[in-house]
Amino acid sequence: MLTPMFQKLITTGVACLVLVSLVAGCTSKKKDPPNTVHLSISAKLKGLDPVNADDMYSGIQSSHAYEGLLQYHYLKRPYVLTPNLAESMPEVSADGKTLTIKIKKGVLFQDDPCFKATGGKGREFEASDIVYSWKRLADPKLTSSGWWVFDGKIVGLNEWHDESAKAGTSDYAKPVEGLKILDRYTLQVKLTQRSAQILYALAMPFTFVVPHEGPEMYGQEYINHAVGTGAFKLQEYDPNSKVVWVRNPTYRKELFPSEGEAKDKESGLLEDAGKPLPLTDKLVYQILVESQPAWLSFLAGKLDLSPIPKDNYSQAIGSNKQLNPELAAKGIKFAKEPQLDITHTSFNMTDPLVGKNKLLRQALSIGYDDVQYIETFYNGQALAAQGPIPPGITGYDLAFKNSYRVYDVAKAKDLLAKAGFPEGKGLPPLEYITLADSTSRQSTEYMQKMMSAIGVQLKVSTYSWPEFQASVKNKKGQMWSFAWGADYPDAENFLQLFYGKNGSPGPNDSNYLNPEFDKLYEKALLLQDSPERTAIYQQMVKIVVEDCPWIFGSHRLNMALTYPWLKNFKYHEFDHAKAKYYRVDPLLKK
């Protein structure tokens, strides 16, 4: 049937494809050291410069090379701060407005060609480096997404920022009153007012210490370099594909903690107590944006640690909420921890309709079934939120029940009628703003379904992430859904989302404004953690819940699977440098 020439041609074609597969088979595998930790990241990276470590992924990567004055204790819960580059916890003056910070002596920056004076050898870290790094945060040219941590809080720093913006160049030599170097190893920080949260800022990647030689040598390219005092040194960096870190040979003596929670001892988390960090020689991060390749790589043993993708949940966890037998047979461990976050649907409080009609907002809140949402979208692995404060943070009240978060169609319809729209009559379709990705589209459909059940129609506008942000910050639209993750373990970080002065484009995206709430907020700001402050926090929660500027969503759970050879894994919300505690047992990994 086929002429011989055709046969030949097609055979050649097929042979070529076979050849491709054969070549694929032969590889020159580079040898990684046996205790290499293999991890994955689900987003492309935006650079390693700490001043722009805005998203979690960039924060984690820059925390391998850079360090802050403080850090979180790896094992203790609730989360507690311990010194890192600081010699001890900062000394706070009686009026709470002056911090005196002594730093560790003999800490070296990593070797890098930018240290020209010493021929590439890293020099010693000193107090002036902190001042330099914090001025970078305030440098208008760098447009740091972390400027808010110091904005308006340190005496003279805002003036420095404004002058730099006006002059068009930033003069780092110009002193700032609130950042005074007392000696080579001591820094004095003057605050504009007493602040209970300032110490948390010192453990956030934004404030991590950068030597001035780095940015001076690399300029704008500094985002692709990492020169700090951290436990790991950058070996390979491709923001779209792979990041490789190796042990920093000049890292100071830092030990694995020897105390933790009660359960840590029996779960073996204290076995490495007192050993020098980092425990691993090499860290390999693979960037896998899609969840299927990441999940399959984990199952094939190429990754040591993996979250459970939403759509693989039923494969991984059986109906009895236990790990499925196939995975359990491999010795894989399953850890489930609450995340310090909240999902919510905001109402635009500046909108003449939803912003001014409290009954309407309450009706919509009651008419939204979160339990079914959690079942459909989180496989039941989340906690329906009653207020803004997640469990695990002081101020969370387990007993508190939000009466507008009990799903009840009849009551919702009743409230809707009281709001002036019986059966939804007379209510124009509400403009709901959402994102274009698949999951957002599905949850939008869910929201539409819920609302139409009580007679409310939605007009959906779909945007990309920047467009979405722009429209929220410009107070367009009437409703939108968001999530907020804690920046630090203090309820203030959640309550500030309702503070009047934080209105758009600030983090108070619904532009909620209640003078009574604001007064309490300002009062609590000046207080240290105490029963008095907790009482104020709970009072604020009650006010917000009644006014209903949000439909409160859920607090999610973090679910992680680890292979038995990965030691010392413990979920930590804030410690981005936690990989320095990880260790791979080569005997268990064959």
Binding site: P309, D311, S438, T439, R441, Q448, S461, T462, Y463
Partner: protein, 290 residues
């Protein structure tokens, strides 16, 4: 004179129809296209598959033959996949139809005046469509959907902007060929205006290119809609095939294949039909290939 032209036109069409009728595959394809069109209209009038957003079973119920709604299984909210596929037909056909309705007049007009008048008019039109077609159509589609906001209207317009170029190019070429033919020269000597020459005399003789182009355009419009919706730039709040395939990205991992299968099969038959029909039309109408 004019009767002669009419006779010529008629014989082209009736000849083509006879040829087409002889081709069984082409007739079958035509039947499929007609079936999809009827289905689309019936859906639009809410005669079938309505309401599509009603819950008919549990979440992700596999296909079963208990009830007609469950033939294609259900989606994440327990809605009928079969109904969604049928609703998707409406969107796919409307995208093809509306984008053709916009792009055909534009393409014909620009192609005709460029080919007929020549000179600087031709230069400008050619410059314009060369420029447009130099931008990769995919990027142009994305840019336009950004500019106009997301949704069905933007898809209609974006596809039309991309589609008229091909037609204009063909029509222009044909007009250049035809404008010097005897019958046009004769019409001119009888005092026919430019308008009448373009639309009364030449156009009927090249109109079959519009038909050939149309079947191709329907096909590419349907496929483009799927891609745009898949990228999150397309249809919002309505069940299109692209959106269903996008859903499959999340669902396949948990073994839910029926949304993907439903949308793919529906798309397969209509694209296949337009393909075969397009080939057959070309064979029947274009005497060049024989």
């Amino acid at each position: 004179m004019s009767t002669a032209i009419a006779a010529k036109g008629k014989s082209l069409w009736s000849d083509a129809w006879i040829r087409l009728k002889r081709d069984r595959y082409a007739m079958l394809s035509l039947a499929i296209v007609i079936f999809y069109s009827i289905l689309a209209i019936a859906t639009k009038l809410e005669w079938v598959a309505s309401p599509w957003d009603r819950v008919v079973g549990g979440a992700y119920a596999p296909p079963s033959f208990d009830k007609i709604e469950l033939w294609g299984g259900t989606d994440i909210f327990g809605r009928s996949v079969l109904y969604k596929v049928i609703q998707g037909t409406r969107i796919a056909m409307s995208v093809g139809l509306v984008s053709s309705l916009i792009s055909v007049p534009i393409g014909v007009t620009f192609g005709a005046i460029a080919g007929y008048f020549g000179g600087w008019v031709d230069d400008v039109v050619v410059w314009f469509y060369t420029t447009l077609s130099s931008i990769p159509s995919f990027m142009l589609l994305i840019a336009i959907t950004y500019a106009l906001g997301k949704g069905l209207t933007s898809i209609y317009i974006a596809l039309s902007v991309v589609a008229w170029v091909g037609l204009a190019r063909v029509i222009r070429g044909e007009f250049i060929k035809h404008k010097t033919r005897d019958y046009v020269v004769a019409a001119e000597s009888l005092g026919a205006s430019h308008f009448s020459k373009i639309f009364k005399h030449i156009f009927p003789n090249v109109s079959h290119f519009v038909i050939i182009n149309l079947s191709m355009q329907f096909m590419s419009a349907i496929k483009a809609e799927v891609i745009l919706s898949f990228l999150g730039l397309g249809v919002q709040g309505q069940p299109s095939w692209g959106v269903m395939i996008d859903d499959a990205k999340l669902e396949l991992a948990r073994g839910v294949w029926w949304q993907l299968a439903g949308a793919t099969i529906a798309m397969f038959f209509v694209v296949l039909a337009f393909n075969i029909l397009g080939d057959a039309l070309r064979d029947a109408l274009d005497p060049k290939i024989k």
